[in-house]
Chain length 128, copies 2
DNA sequence: GAACTATATTCCTTTTAAGGTATATTGAAG
DNA sequence: CTTCAATATACCTTAAAAGGAATATAGTTC
């Protein structure tokens, strides 16, 4: 992947927020929606964008789609370097830190519409 | 400066090439034109873009404008980190390395239109 | 299989960025 | 003061990105 394409992935605020969350580990789309407070389409499209460029992978778990950063072994040196750089920069970014705090406050599984949790993707957290 | 703005500066191929050259030290516009082989307007605009966002500074020397990366002290931690990352990534990029090789082959001062050198900005090289 | 949930995709509109041509500016040289 | 060289800017056109509404898909539940 060309270097400029990596920067193209990083040059949008929504994608930065998504990647920042993914640096913590795999997440399902509903988590992104809850944390970012953006429309479903918008989030889905940016995730597709990142997936098309191999920065993230996705797998289905029931109705949920779980997104994760490309495995380290699948990262080009350029991508690896930039993700490391991003992780570092994110620590100094209040909005990105706020997103992480929000994420921690979420229930550990999808509980859409405030309903009592009955099911949800399992094993999302705890594997970075 | 917001993180996303840094990535916006980096997400264009021409700007990447300009910054890559500037990592070697200050340069005048004619050098960029010679190395990139792009139109004067295009180069000038991208330099303006970078200057407006404080990634580079410019000073006049006679007819020439000398561009340089923002002094280290003027770099935000995010910018510093990303420039370091870019420097590293550039080493693995054949096109960017080719630009550097081209730069080395240039006369040390502006000698436009292949004419014998009579004058030109002095002291461009040798101070990174 | 009908209804529902989560997510993706299509189609369209709006916004933004990029690039070109022509022109302006600035300093140098005569 | 005129001319020239180097660079910047204005103005315009085109291309690309972003975002929304509506719809499609895939899996689940009953």
């Amino acid at each position: 992947m060309k270097l400029v394409s990596i920067y193209e992935c990083l040059c949008d605020a929504t994608r930065l927020r998504l990647l920042n969350l993914l640096l913590q580990g795999p997440l399902c789309v509903c988590h992104f929606q809850a944390v970012l407070g953006e429309s479903q389409v918008k989030i889905s499209k940016h995730l597709s964008y990142l997936r098309a460029r191999r920065l993230v992978t996705s797998r289905r778990e029931g109705n949920w789609m779980i997104y994760a950063l490309a495995r380290p072994a699948a990262r080009s040196p350029e991508l690896a370097a930039n993700l490391t750089c991003l992780r570092k920069c994110a620590q100094a970014s209040p909005p990105l830190q706020r997103d992480l705090a929000q994420l921690k406050n979420l229930s550990l599984a999808c509980t859409p519409k405030g309903s009592a949790r009955t099911h949800g993707p399992s094993g999302i957290f705890g594997r970075s």
